[in-house]
């Protein structure tokens, strides 16, 4: 059976929004990389002050949450609302892990007197990761809304565009982090 479709899963308006968001992050990444090119020593020195263990936990949490969201979409397509809700709640818990770990990092930096004015590296690190942090937060609001609507019986095997739309946004948040993680924490 040829399963090819003309449009991606979910609402097309969300995909336009996703592309706009990805463009902004691409500019951010390029700005970071070329600023680093002018201050290699500074970036390499302060990159070593970051907690790569926390970054690993956050990366694993986001990948796992994406997997859970994908399973939720697969279940709602089969009209399995209860299973769909369970996967969505599991994904939300992984999102919460990300927010808690990242908040811990911010508290650590703040107590060490680090802020946007400390140096160019920290300006990029804090603004990039906080911008992404806000996207995770928005993604969790969307996933929560989908979970409630699924629980209310608004989604089924025949009508599940909302679940696919929210899932697409969440995967976008994950993809952005997958580039951010090595760029900011590892590559030197």
């Amino acid at each position: 059976m040829n399963a090819s479709k003309e449009y991606p899963p979910g609402d097309l308006a969300m995909w336009i929004f996703i592309l706009a968001e990805l463009l902004v992050f691409a500019l951010f990444f390029a700005a970071y990389a070329f600023s680093r090119a002018n201050n290699v020593e500074l970036f390499n020195t302060f990159q070593q002050t970051l907690d790569t263990d926390s970054a690993l936990i956050n990366t694993l949490a986001l990948i796992t949450s994406s997997y859970f969201v994908m399973r939720a979409v697969a279940d709602i397509r089969q009209n399995r609302q209860v299973e769909c809700i369970r996967w969505l709640l599991a994904a939300l818990s992984m999102g919460a892990v990300f927010l808690i770990v990242k908040s811990g990092e911010y508290v650590h930096h703040y107590s060490a007197g680090i802020n946007l004015r400390t140096n160019t590296f920290y300006m990029f690190y804090l603004s990039l990761t906080f911008f992404h942090f806000m996207h995770v937060l928005l993604g969790m609001v969307i996933l929560s809304a989908i979970t409630v609507k699924t629980w209310l019986g608004d989604y089924s095997a025949t009508e599940h565009t909302g679940v696919e739309t929210g899932a697409s946004y969440w995967h976008m948040v994950d993809i952005v982090w997958l580039i951010l993680f090595p760029l900011v924490y590892i590559m030197k």
Binding site: R71, L178, I186
Partner: protein
Amino acid sequence: MNKTRLADQPYLIRPCTIVYILLITLTILSWLIGKSGISGLHVAMLVLLFALLKGLLIGDYFMGLRSVRGLWRWPIIVWLFVPGSLITWAFFITA
């Protein structure tokens, strides 16, 4: 075979789970490289390649773009190529 419903296929280990394990493995490899302290252009490019591959896997298998034809098949692939190229360029000029 419906490519968009990988999670529903009756395998011992679902293809989507294999993709998930691959994503986790590549992430841990990147982290280990970072932990080891080794650096240099080739190492940075290897880590970037892992990241781009992971993005491709998420787009194709988790977002379901693998089964989309035409224009909408490409946004994630093109997006990964753009920052990937710019980051590569920026690292090359400092090597």
